[in-house]
């Protein structure tokens, strides 16, 4: 039982990270129907910025987090302006191929400048190194931090999407882009804003993962990126609460598979879940079936 609870705790920490990445995927997909393959690399970029802040600049965790989020936002918006905007009216395959190209460019660009090897985050000291022992469970300060920051960011996101003017514009554009444009909404700005928010969340996830696992490398974004996308599909792509739930489910499943079965199978199982969802309920957990219209 203790081991079970411990796995749940680990699963929730990992799930928080997937949920943060999945939110970016789901928002971007909801608004321009694009699987943003470069999203996982924005997350990697966030981890590297965090590393830079904490080693070279010797900053504390929270300022590093904010800087990483700002830098990731800039990168995300730049990607959108340079690579995706010229293709607004191109075929979906063209945009998808571009997304893969951008993703490879960031990965191998980072590898070229930062070298391929693994880098380790500085060891935690003081408050950050604390561990809590509750009835045999071990909860590290990093895990607490991950969950708290994730919850804060999610509440903030809900507030932005539901209560602000930009959030309203985002919802309108994702519902019907042409109609939104006719109502006087600046679609381009709204799309950029969506990329900005998604990238900020991914950057936060990047630095949190660096704190949690201590090691980062240029290709670290590939797998979490794909898994976060699966999480988004699981919850129903385009639906924000769906991405959160999906992220936690995928995180817990993955931890359980590597805890109780074989950690070699953990990636395969997640992809098997995807194929299963596509067979059983392609619209996802919270999705509704939408009929294709001419």
């Amino acid at each position: 039982m203790e081991q079970f609870m411990q796995q749940v705790v680990n699963g929730i920490s990992l799930g928080s990270i997937y949920a943060l990445i999945a939110l970016g995927y789901t928002m971007v997909y909801g608004i321009i129907k694009l699987i943003n393959f470069a999203h996982g690399d924005v997350y990697m970029f966030g981890a590297y910025i965090g590393y830079f802040c904490m080693t070279t600049l010797k900053l504390d965790v929270l300022p590093s987090l904010l800087i990483a989020m700002v830098c990731s936002t800039i990168l995300g918006v730049a990607i959108e302006k340079i690579a995706y905007k010229p293709l607004r009216n191109a075929t979906r395959i063209a945009v998808l191929i571009t997304a893969i190209g951008v993703s490879l460019l960031i990965e191998y660009g980072t590898m070229f400048f930062m070298k391929a090897g693994v880098r380790t985050y500085p060891p935690m000291t003081g408050l950050m190194a604390q561990k809590f022992h509750i009835k045999g469970l071990v909860i590290t300060m990093q895990q607490v931090l991950i969950v708290i920051i994730t919850i804060i960011l999610m509440v903030l996101l809900q507030f932005i999407v539901k209560k602000t003017r930009v959030g309203k514009a985002m919802r309108a554009v994702s519902l019907d882009r042409d109609a939104a444009e006719l109502m006087g909404i600046n679609v381009d700005t709204t799309i950029s804003f969506t990329f900005a928010i998604g990238s900020a969340l991914a950057g936060a996830a990047g630095i949190l993962v660096g704190l949690y696992y201590n090691s980062i490398n240029p290709l670290m974004g590939v797998m979490p990126g794909l898994k976060a996308f699966i999480a988004a599909v699981f919850g129903g792509i385009g639906i924000i609460p769906g991405a959160m739930v999906g992220g936690y489910v995928i995180g817990v499943v993955e931890v359980f598979v590597s805890g109780y079965l074989n950690s070699m199978y953990r990636d395969a199982i997640v992809f098997a879940i995807l194929i299963l969802i596509l067979i059983v309920k392609p619209s996802g957990l919270f999705g509704r079936n939408v009929r294709e219209k001419v």
Binding site: I100, L104, V233, A268
Partner: protein, 326 residues
């Protein structure tokens, strides 16, 4: 009967056969006089295998409009099947059996993955095929007894030489070209152009999408078998996501929807990679920039959906001869 005879002695087909035979003989002679040395022969094999892969992926992505990211997975099924069979029996017949069994298995997996995912609109196929190739890789890593795990298989008997490479490459390209020129092929192209319209015209879109996808997987299986039997070492990591991207770059560069474009791009990119062998990071950066730049500035690729035809050469010839007269 007379009609049939007429199509058989159609001048186009005769020219095709003659030019293929010519290409084969020239390379064969160059190999035998050692102008194409053993180093260049490796490039030649890579080109042939990449042509099979690119043309079959083009059938799925370029002509039918379904975005697949799992071509390397199908390739690995063909490679492992052929390798295991030839390592056990070691005869030429077992090699031929291995090629076809590998291709059939790849097609079967393609069918099983394609059937549920191709019904869906949108980009789910891309992620599902990516996931499938990842699952296949994990399975090969974990089936220690047959596949020797992550270390892979080595000392696979080498049966593939230029003759086999040529036969299979030309065969696959010819069959796919003919398929595209049939009513099935036109149905596939109509799906790419407008899925809703083509289903309104009575085309069973799911059936044709699955058909193209399965056929593409079959050809990728052949390419995998060629690979394992030529390079006699395979391991699961060779057939990862990056291999699928490699194939995709060839298809996109050559033009989505152009067979000759794919062939041309396979040759050009193989030559480019030979030069960039020592700098794999720069090669990937270059590939990435190439992908983005092509999509932004020339989304139809090198050739678009045009083909290099014999008629083009005639026109070119006429241009030159008319110039001379003037």
């Amino acid at each position: 009967m007379r009609n049939r005879l007429k199509t058989l002695i159609n001048p186009n087909i005769i020219i095709r056969i003659i030019s293929l035979a010519l290409a084969f003989t020239v390379v064969q002679v160059l190999i035998s006089v050692n102008v194409i040395n053993s180093y260049l022969q490796i490039t030649l094999a890579t080109i042939c295998i990449n042509i099979i892969l690119a043309v079959s992926l083009n059938l799925i992505t370029g002509f039918t409009g379904q975005f697949s990211l799992g071509h390397a997975g199908f390739m690995s099924i063909g490679a492992y099947t052929c390798a295991i069979i030839t390592m056990r029996y070691g005869t030429l017949w077992s090699f031929i059996l291995g090629v076809f069994l590998g291709a059939l298995l790849a097609a079967l997996v393609g069918f099983l993955v394609g059937l549920p995912t191709l019904r869906l609109q949108g980009d789910y196929l891309a992620i599902a095929t990516l996931g499938m190739s990842e699952i296949i890789r994990v399975v090969f890593v974990n089936l220690d007894v047959i596949t020797n795990g992550a270390a892979g298989l080595s000392d696979i008997p080498q049966f593939v030489n230029w003759i086999w490479l040529f036969v299979f490459t030309a065969g696959v390209v010819w069959v796919i070209a003919n398929f595209l020129n049939s009513s099935h092929g036109r149905a596939c192209i109509s799906i790419r152009e407008d899925e809703i319209a083509s289903s309104a015209m009575g085309i069973n879109t799911t059936r044709y999408k699955v058909m193209a996808f399965t056929f593409g997987a079959f050809c990728a299986g052949i390419a995998g078998a060629m690979y394992s039997s030529y390079f006699y070492v395979i391991k699961p990591d060779l057939f990862g996501f990056l291999k699928s991207i490699d194939i995709l770059v060839i298809v996109v560069f050559g033009g989505l929807g152009s067979i000759t474009g794919s062939v041309l791009a396979a040759v050009l990119l193989a030559i480019m990679s030979t030069f960039l062998q020592a700098f794999s990071e720069i090669r990937m950066i270059l590939y990435a920039v190439l992908l983005v730049a092509i999509m932004i500035f020339r989304p139809q690729g090198l050739m678009g959906s045009k083909e290099i035809t014999i008629g083009m050469f005639n026109k070119l010839g006429n241009m030159f001869s008319s110039k001379k007269e003037v």
